[in-house]
């Protein structure tokens, strides 16, 4: 930020440096007159970061793709042309056909919706759950911490796939073909319930470090309540590591959805998702690599975009980086 240059001016720490200050800041005063908070500052900073701009464009494109897939393709993703099965990329089918003769490009486009939805929702759920428990356990410590940590370890101790099989099969017992929305929300909830301890642990350790800081003591000495200390002083200083985890976790979540779909517990046709495409393609990796490459490529780009976004946001929220 432009203000940072002014830091040199006060290094002498005498009142006389004031004159110098006035003259320099006088020019930019009208622009800074508006009151802005932490997020306002972060936003101003973000707009100038190429990393952020690129990531936002990609994510925006993906969002449009998942909202209006028909804008990008007129082919039905579930139409099977068996005569064209496993044909490579060509002008009429840019990404080629899969083993059942379905257009890979159309399927990738239509798969965006469920993949992004599952990724974003599952990540948000784990991060929110984990952050709340982590904050409580790290800040209050002692018995609360023991209780919450042991509770988290129960979930952490469950092998993910096994846990998911149990949860999903119990809740879908007796229902032969559950609706798409139902399955998707179940998948999201399952991932959330099984994965929150990771972000809880990250948040907890950050909260333990933050609560020992002098500014927490200072806030206490000025009469702040527990909830204000937690939300105003501890949380903003703990959010960065969780944010980094979230951007990485997003890709994992999309992968987990694929795992569940592959086991027949997650999304099912006619719903299309990248995860399903990737898991099907593994039998054809040698003979038909394009079946793997395109959905996997989209997955990589999506994850990359979110990681870049997370990186940029984290930097923008850290005032020392400005």
């Amino acid at each position: 930020m432009t203000e940072s240059i002014r830091e040199q001016a006060d290094s002498t720490d005498t009142a006389n440096t004031g004159d110098q200050d006035v003259s320099r800041s006088g020019e930019q005063k009208p622009k800074l007159e508006k009151q802005v908070g932490l997020w306002g500052d972060a936003w101003r900073d973000l707009r100038k970061r190429p990393l952020f701009i690129v990531a936002s464009i990609i994510i925006l494109l993906l969002v449009v793709m998942s909202a209006f897939p028909w804008l990008f393709t007129s082919v039905d993703p579930n139409e099977q042309l068996l005569s064209k099965a496993r044909q490579g990329p060509s002008p009429e089918a840019w990404f080629g056909y899969d083993h059942l003769g379905r257009d890979v490009y159309a399927r990738v486009i239509y798969g965006t919706r469920s993949s992004i939805l599952v990724g974003v929702l599952a990540t948000s759920l784990t991060v929110v759950l984990g952050s709340i428990f982590g904050l409580i356990s790290g800040y209050f410590g002692r018995k609360t911490d023991v209780l919450v940590s042991r509770f988290a370890e129960i979930f952490l101790g469950l092998p993910f796939v096994l846990g998911a099989i149990v949860i999903l099969s119990v809740f879908n017992a007796g229902i032969t073909s559950p609706s798409g929305v139902r399955v998707m929300s179940q998948v999201v909830l399952t991932i959330g319930v099984l994965a929150w301890p990771i972000s809880m642990r990250i948040m907890r350790s950050a909260a333990i470090a933050a609560k020992q800081q002098d500014y927490v003591n200072a806030a206490k000495a000025l009469g702040a309540s527990h909830s204000r200390i937690i939300f105003k002083h501890v949380l903003p200083n703990c959010i960065a590591p969780v944010m980094v985890y979230a951007t990485i976790a997003l890709g994992q979540m999309i992968g987990l959805e694929a795992t569940l779909s592959y086991l027949g517990l997650g999304l099912k046709a006619p719903v299309v998702s990248w995860g399903m495409m990737i898991s099907v393609s593994q039998q054809y990796i040698i003979s038909t690599p394009h079946m793997l490459l395109f959905p996997a490529g989209f997955l990589v780009i999506t994850v990359l975009a979110f990681v870049m976004l997370g990186d940029a946001v984290r930097d923008a929220l850290d005032p020392k980086q400005r």
Binding site: A15, V22, G37, Q213, D214, L222, G223, A224, P319
Partner: protein, 339 residues
Amino acid sequence: MSATDESTGGSTKPRLLEVEDLHVEFRTREATANVLNGVGYHVDAGETLAVLGESGSGKSVTAQSVMGILDTPPGFVTKGAIRYRGEELLAATEDRRRELRGENMAMIFQDALSALNPVYTVGFQIAEQFRFRRGMSRKDAMAKAAEMLDMVKIPNAKQRVKEFPHQFSGGMRQRAMIAMSLALDPDLLIADEPTTALDVTVQAQIMDLLDELRRERGMGMILITHDLGVVAEVADRIAVMYAGRVVEESDAESLYERPAHPYTEGLMESIPRLDQKGEQLASIKGLPPNLANIPEGCPFHPRCHRATDECRRKVPELLELRPGRYSACHFAEELISSE
């Protein structure tokens, strides 16, 4: 301790702050450390009490107990009384104590950089007080914050409220910290080594500022330090602490003239002086006692050059030698009357 009894005497007005026979222990898995063993001191409105002592003598723990921000566990107040304007704080509810913090008593810390939250602007942190304790709007609170920065003589305050703590220099940060503590106009300020992290020229400025603010607002101030030089100019009275108790209390002038406790004597001798250039700097031999295992008798006796058998057996009481002069030493009378 007895230090406060007579002077309060018949007057009905209670003291601003009175600490009496305060005992605090730190319980850890291995041992229990007796961090405070009967601390007693008092501060009146408008005066500065300097609390002197080595690291680990219990200066800060006393302050934290007064503020009610002692980490429990490991710290436990086991005995004693802390009275703010006659109100017994150790018996007060947590809500009442929180109400008092900031509003009636405030504290500033040694390292202002870590005592200011790095993610908020300085102005936001000061304004927070006004918004949450006074219910002001964001805009009014910001204006008040700028006023506060102006009060602590930060140049160009209107602009600087929008800056982050790391954009401030050391001295400016401490000023901002002071502004934050004084926002709600408390009448007791505890300054825990406010100048230790600063360089010498800035130290003097901060001390002057604190002294000036104290005078303007008629606050009582407890200045915790281990630096006798810092104290000399601003303190009205001095309490010297050793191993969790006050070993000497006196008005500043008399104490500098003739300390009435060998420990204070040792502290004074260990100040470097220009006329002793080339000579070896005096120091107090030995280390402060292990608080989990304080020696019997006078806790200072293993390091004291006057120690006798009596000192090894009997704990000296804090006795008044002259009006306003207290010392806890078996030889206090000798010390004070010797040339």
